[in-house]
Structures are given as structure tokens and as C-alpha cells.
Symmetry: C2
Subunit: 318 residues, 2 copies
Amino acid sequence: MQDLIDRFKAGETRALARLISMLENEDPQHEEILKQLFYRTGQAYVVGFTGSPGAGKSSLVDQVIKHLRKEGQTVGVIAVDPTSPFTGGALLGDRIRMQEHALDKGVFIRSMGTRGSLGGLAKTTKDVVKAMDAFGFNWVIIETVGVGQAELDIMHVADTTVVVLTPGAGDAIQTIKAGIMEIADVFAVNKCDLPGADKVAAEVEIMLDQQCDQVGWRPPVKLVSSLTGQGIADLVAAIKTHRQHLEDNSLLSLKRRERIRSEALEIVNYKWQQKILKQINIPGRLNDQLERVMNKEIDPYTAADFILDYVVSGPTGK
Amino acid sequence: MQDLIDRFKAGETRALARLISMLENEDPQHEEILKQLFYRTGQAYVVGFTGSPGAGKSSLVDQVIKHLRKEGQTVGVIAVDPTSPFTGGALLGDRIRMQEHALDKGVFIRSMGTRGSLGGLAKTTKDVVKAMDAFGFNWVIIETVGVGQAELDIMHVADTTVVVLTPGAGDAIQTIKAGIMEIADVFAVNKCDLPGADKVAAEVEIMLDQQCDQVGWRPPVKLVSSLTGQGIADLVAAIKTHRQHLEDNSLLSLKRRERIRSEALEIVNYKWQQKILKQINIPGRLNDQLERVMNKEIDPYTAADFILDYVVSGPTGK
């Protein structure tokens, strides 16, 4: 494995792809990999794109990639596609996209499905961001369907979050419902050539007027067209302005330190889960407690106290 | 508080409302309340209705309530509305609904917002289901926007899950993406008077044909209209058939026992979280470890091992 990491450090794209697969599959060595990558992270600027299905996020991200590539910037992209077991795997569109950039070593696109566990998606995505960051890309872009808690969790790793809207019917209102307006640093109203784009932009501005907790940064609303490329330069400029804002106010390092802290705590919880699952799955007193709850002989709170005490203090008590 | 629980046990609706508020607000006594309610739970049949915003879930649930009331059944309803801080509180529509049923003691409707923490929504909703179940309603109906992990978590408490679709453009495809097709026991194609309803139903049937892991139950697809009431009797019959299927195969008690088990484990985790948060928030060695991770002096995995060991084995080691 050290050989693989060495090739990764030497900038070999295939080593990156291989390491990402190992992270995705929770390879037994994934912890060792992340330990080694940790010290190389924190260089890339991470931008999240989120919005309802059909908002044109993929083609918008493609335009942003092209723009950044013209500036000589390298870009890693993670397309999170919570595909259901019904359809399985990544969508055709993503495969086409990947081919398009296949010859450009400055772009690396990775599609991720959920493969069953939605709960694990956020963790895996964060790990893949770390791999791309450690690999040395200047930018890491995450693209998700902004519909749920897993997606909101993913967005916590972004330094700048772009919420993509369209002039579709009721789109803005649905976005509010899904709870993703709060995480927007920049709004992009895509398909701005369609009628109603100005109206959506105006609606967002009104909502921003009503929002009281804006401290120093009011999310700009940019009209863009991922079809024609209109407004893309403006959108990238807005992202950079937000980055500058974070850096000027020491918010970027604060945000990142806070993120590292909460990730360390998440790892503690993950290890705790593993520990307790191991003990629960062997026959014995803990299992008996759960049996008794299921038989309604004791309530789950009393059982939980017992189990916690048992695992923390050991079978004999403190 | 015992007085309140006694009035609850005597069937006083105001006591139910009061207890639910205490559960929602994580009142210091909420654990004691749930301990006492636990032995009274497991009587109600729990049905979940989920689907994208605008699918007409609320009015469909209203029709189902009316149908069940005609049969003399009592119904508790929990409308989960993940309203964002932008809009705040429950929507006007829900308040109107509640007034409509205000004089009927056999119906109790409760709207829930997220009040900040989406992560806590599933837990609170489950607690409210328990309160309604313990109160003695024959049926408990949960209504959620089926868009995310929190909503999927909520649906785990339902004995039967109804996924509501509409002939809207791309609706079926979006539903697959959101990952809620897998949890459907019954499909309801609402607004069946609109063109395209048959097409949606056919699409769902095709997807069901492709799904391989159907063990003994193939979700029926029902065309309904929450506007005219068309198909509602049929829908309720399908829900009852699913219930019969679960009971005939001992799946209902198995499902419920499994649910109690995983809830007990969730409580263990919750208590663990409280324990570790308490220790993390006081200055000392655990906090120092996190500081060192944030300064990139050690990696988060090494720190996590230390913290877990410290909390489990105590400051001096085992």
C-alpha cells in the first residue's frame, strides 16, 4: 500500500483513482490511507454545487471547469448521485462527461452512487474530497442533488456553497422547503434565457432581505446559462469574492479548524459504534437486555443505561 | 408530571398535546415520560405517507382520515414539515386543517417543523408516534416530504408506507433518485383525473417488474384523487391488505421487535453522545487532543483512538 501512496504523492492519477476506490469500499486500510493524507490536506479550495434535480448542475459545473482550466487551475470533481438500487450505478451522462475530460490531466471527475447506505455517503464523500485535496488539485468541486440531510452534511465540507435554481415552476419555494437556502453563499439562477429567470432572482433577493442573520456576507444572485456560458465568468468571480471574504476575516481557517474538530469527533463516534456493535452481536448480557426490551419486560431507557455502563465501565462495574 | 400522565391515561386530549410539546422540546422529563409510555405502545397501526412537495399528500391524508372515521376508527396524524428558518413554523394550510377536525375527538393532528436540527427530527417524530400510540388511537398517520435521510428514518416507524406520486413531469424519475421507491408498500398515484396518471402507474409497474428482491409482497399501485375522493376506499383497502399480509406472516411483530431493538441502541448512542460532549466541553486532555488535530500535529484517527480509550477506560487507562 505504501507503494500506492508514494505513486499518489508523485502525482499519478491512477494511484488517486485506486485510493478513492479503496476509500469508497471501506477497505481495511482506509484508515491508514486517511492518516497519511491528512497532513497534505487543506490546500484545495472546495466549492459545492447543489440544487434540485433538473436544475442543470452538471452542465453548469462543466462550464465552471472550463473557465478554471483556462486560468490554468486544476480541478477535481465529485458528482454525488444518490441512485437507488432500482437503477444502480452512475448515470450515462456522467460517463459521457468523464470521457469529455479524459485527455485533460488537470481535471479528474468521479461519480459516486450511494451503494445502499445513504448514511455512509457523506463520510465517503468527505474522504474523497480529502484524497483530491491531498493529490494537489487547486479546486475540488462537489456536485449534489440538494434534497436531504446526507446532501446537507456533504455541503459542510465546502468552503463556498453555490445553490443552483431554475425558472421552473415553484422551484424557489421547493428549495426553501428542502432547507438548503441557509447554506448558500452564492445563488446561481441557471437557464437564464428561459422566461421567469429574473422573477426567481427577485424572489431570492426578497428572501435574503427577510433573513436576519447575515453577518458580513450577503449571498449574491447570479444569472447564468450553462448552455451558452453566459454569466459563468461572473459566477466564478462571485465564488472568488466569497473566498476573499472568508480569508480577509480569518473565517476560512476558522471554518476549516472547526471542520477538522467535528470530523475527529465523528471518527470517535464511528469507532464507538464499531465497538458496541461487536459487543452486541455476541450472545451475552447486552443481548439479553435488548431481548428483555423487545419482550417489554424493561423499557429501552433503562436498558440503554445498563448497556452504556456495561461498555464504559466493564462487566463488573466501576 | 405524574398528574399529567394520569390525565393522559384517562384519555384527555389536552394532556396528550402537552406531553407532545414536552417531547418536542426535549423537556428534562422527556425520558421519564417515554419510559412510562413504552408499555402502552404497540397497539396503533402506523401508516406513513411520503412523496415530493406538491403531490397532494395533505389532502390525500385528509381523505383517508374521513374514510377511517366513517368506520369508527380513531386517527392521530403527524405532519412533518421541514420548514426552513426562512419561513419558520408550520404552514397556514396545516392550521386550517387542524381547525377542520377541531370538533372531532377521534382525530388529533400535530404539525412538526424542524426547529433548526434536522438530525433530531426523526427522533422527535418517533417519540410523538409513541405518544399517539400510547394514547390509544387505532391508527397513527405520518405525513412527510420524501426527500431526505431524515424522512427515510421517519418512515422506518411506519408499518405500511404509502408513496404518493403525481402525473407531474419527471415525478417518478425524481422519486427514484430520492431513494424512496424502496420503502413503498403501496403506491398512490394522486390527481388521477389529470392526463398522464395511467402512464405514471405503468412506469411504476415496470420498475416493480425490474425489482428482484420482492419477498411475498408486490406493492400495489392505486389511482386516487384527493380532490374527488376517487379510489380512496381502494387505497385504504390496499393498506389493510398489506397489514393482513404482515400479520399472516408474523412479519408485523418481527418488524416491531426489530424496531424496538434498534431504538434501544439509538438511545445508547444518544446517551453516549451526551457523555462525550460533556467531557469534550471542559478544558483538559480531550480538548487538547482536538486542539492538536486542528493544528495538524496529530491525525484525527490517532486522536479518536485516544479519546475513545480515555472515555471508555478512564484517565489512567485500563
